[in-house]
Symmetry: D2
Subunit: 235 residues, 4 copies
């Protein structure tokens, strides 16, 4: 049983008509609806909850955290962002979706600006360039998102361990749309699709990829705390 | 002074009207013409020369080998291909151009099939996704080749050390168009542009990239022979 | 159920008294004895069998191939070595043990000389430097092999995807003793311990590592054949 | 001309007799003495200077920053640490020496705890495992530091781009003693030797490695500021 917590700032869906129409109960609820299964137990948390719903207790009982954030990045308190990043180092998986590239926890774990180019309203085709990877299983060699925000190169991230998807935009750009990283004991997957005004999380391939990523990021072991011992002489 | 040898099978330019019109003295001559400089000394070699022009002596005196081949791959003798691959392990740089992805030396050094998808007649835009890399210096963030063959993902190569250019095709595909590898003491750059029926090697950005790659692949040291010692006890 | 084939040249055990005493039925039988389980179905194959026991049919029905070879490297027929390497590209996992660093299939897949330094009779301590990796699960942070052959750096391999174990020798050397690679759809694990005159494959940690590696290398999918299509226009 | 700034907290040398005896003018002065040359222009800066000697102006005019810190890590002001890290993203090279693994700028750039094992008073042999790398030029295959602090695995860093040196300790441990990273446009080299109570920076090989690292980390280009554009439609 994988214990997944889906975190969403949950702002656009309440302020923007289009977003609210597509995700009447929030992006987190839609992601929860397709992740829930016999193997995956899902909880959700949002910015407006005490400690943004990400207490020590919650993180301790989370195997994989899914993160969606955008206009609320700066409202996430530093101690919560630090707690999330440290939980990843101790083993918790992290799936950073779309504009989470600029979220505090993701930026802390990357150590770079995570800047990228962008433009609204694009037609995207995602190519799987690592067809052997567990996150690619069951995903076609390419698939189309008729409407998506354009996120383009250069993308200021450390070199990913694996680039699994490359995005192609009709307007002429490319992007490393699906990237994996390991930090400490934790596995991280950044996945570009998911602009709030398009029904991206209803796409079957996007859903399959996020499900695969949850299984991939599920930790083999989680540490109680980060260790920094003064080594005793070896026997 | 960097000593460059440009190897070309030199077949299409003699058999195909269009190729012959664009490269009347062969692709190798055109590449030689823009590489020659106060810092770079250029020689050329072709398939029809004894030992394909790549004797032990020639390779010993080559710092960086540029390779263009296509229909003649199977006519390259195994002992010459082995000699080239071993020279790379001993430090010689290798720039594998376009269809050299299926050349014997490149495949030996990669250990994979190097298969890719392809289709004739495409419009390509190359994006620089590693703008800090020496091979990118002076190259714009993207540039267009109005006509080029399409080489698309998946590309069956070992994970590159650096993907420097990603190709975008108007027809919908993407490709890791500029990739670096280190094998033994040698540096390898694969660069996708260069179909024989288009004037690719007259493009200023393509020229700049190949010049940069030659400087990057120039070895700091070249071994006399591959070493496999039985280590003596340490002092 | 993972279908494992253990290949052993099976020469030392018949010619060398010490090796024969430790492995009276061959190294392959000892490895088979600890791998066999409800989840793993084991077969063995040796050099003296027709086609070295590695027919198309056998490889088609092998999920993970374990390879032990040394003095018989050159007696492995090229077409069998090619068949093994191609099976890896199509998805079969490969565990290359000890002197298999110089085996034909491993060298083909690496593309380098795979040379290393070596000396007989060493005391080794193996350190786990990737404690989050599935191959490390249940393995202590370090463990000792009181007698082992010394394999030391430099080791002429392409940069591994992950260095999981680093060997420390009392005599002063170090070595990347456990390394992973992906080639095509296949996963490869090179693991240094296993000199034939020491009871290495009776060590509980070595056994655990090989078991973990088999599970890790078990393919998610295996191709019928390597694909090199001429892509049709996208819809 | 490479403009190098050597930063040192400069505390031990004033408080600890042994450190003061070895480095009467501070570790930074000793490093400056061997770096200074016709090609390298050296400045120094210390913790007790205004803004720790690392103003915007200083960093703008620094190509490569060398950092030595230990007990003063927490006294480095966050805005200065942020400024250093951002300068690296914009292209400035960073050489992090010894206990700088826990310095604020290095940790920010890595995104991990950078914890490691350690013990006082060890005998170390450093092995060059990337003999083709520019940082290795002129360095023997291994060399000894008769006295050094032991820094051992596991070392909680993101996977390095290149592990150039592996440390072997007589007491039984190993360590990734020389590691490279790229973050944004900046190159980073972590190098483990340099405990303040041993004359490490008088060792000729250590000096050669730091000189090589400075040349390697010298930026090809430095940005005025980090860019995050809203891309205009392509022509």
């Amino acid at each position: 049983m994988i214990r997944v917590t889906i975190w969403n700032e949950y702002i656009h869906e309440k302020n923007n008509l289009q977003a609210g129409k597509i995700y009447p109960n929030g992006i987190h609820s839609q992601i929860a609806s397709f992740l829930k299964s016999d193997d995956i137990q899902v909880s959700t948390a949002t910015l407006d909850m005490p400690e943004h719903g990400l207490t020590e207790e919650v993180l301790k009982n989370t195997d994989v955290l899914v993160w969606w954030g955008h206009v609320g990045h700066n409202d996430v308190r530093d101690e919560v962002a630090d707690r999330v990043a440290e939980s990843v180092l101790k083993g918790m998986g992290l799936i950073a979706l779309h504009s989470a590239h600029h979220s505090k926890p993701f930026k802390k774990l990357m150590g770079t600006s995570c800047n990228l180019n962008w433009r609204e309203d694009a037609y995207e085709r995602l190519w799987c360039i690592a067809p052997h990877h567990p996150i690619s299983m069951g995903v076609p060699s390419s698939f189309v998102l008729e409407q998506e925000e354009m996120y383009g190169e250069p993308f200021d991230i450390p070199k990913p361990e694996e680039v699994i998807f490359t995005g192609w935009y009709k307007s002429g750009e490319v992007f490393r749309s699906g990237c994996t990283f390991t930090r400490g004991y934790g596995k991280i997957f950044y996945f570009q699709p998911g602009h709030e005004t398009y029904p991206i999380y209803y796409n079957e391939h996007v859903q399959r990829i996020i499900k695969n990523a949850v299984a991939w990021a599920n930790p083999l072991l989680k540490l109680e705390k980060l260790i920094c011992p003064n080594t005793q002489p070896l026997e």
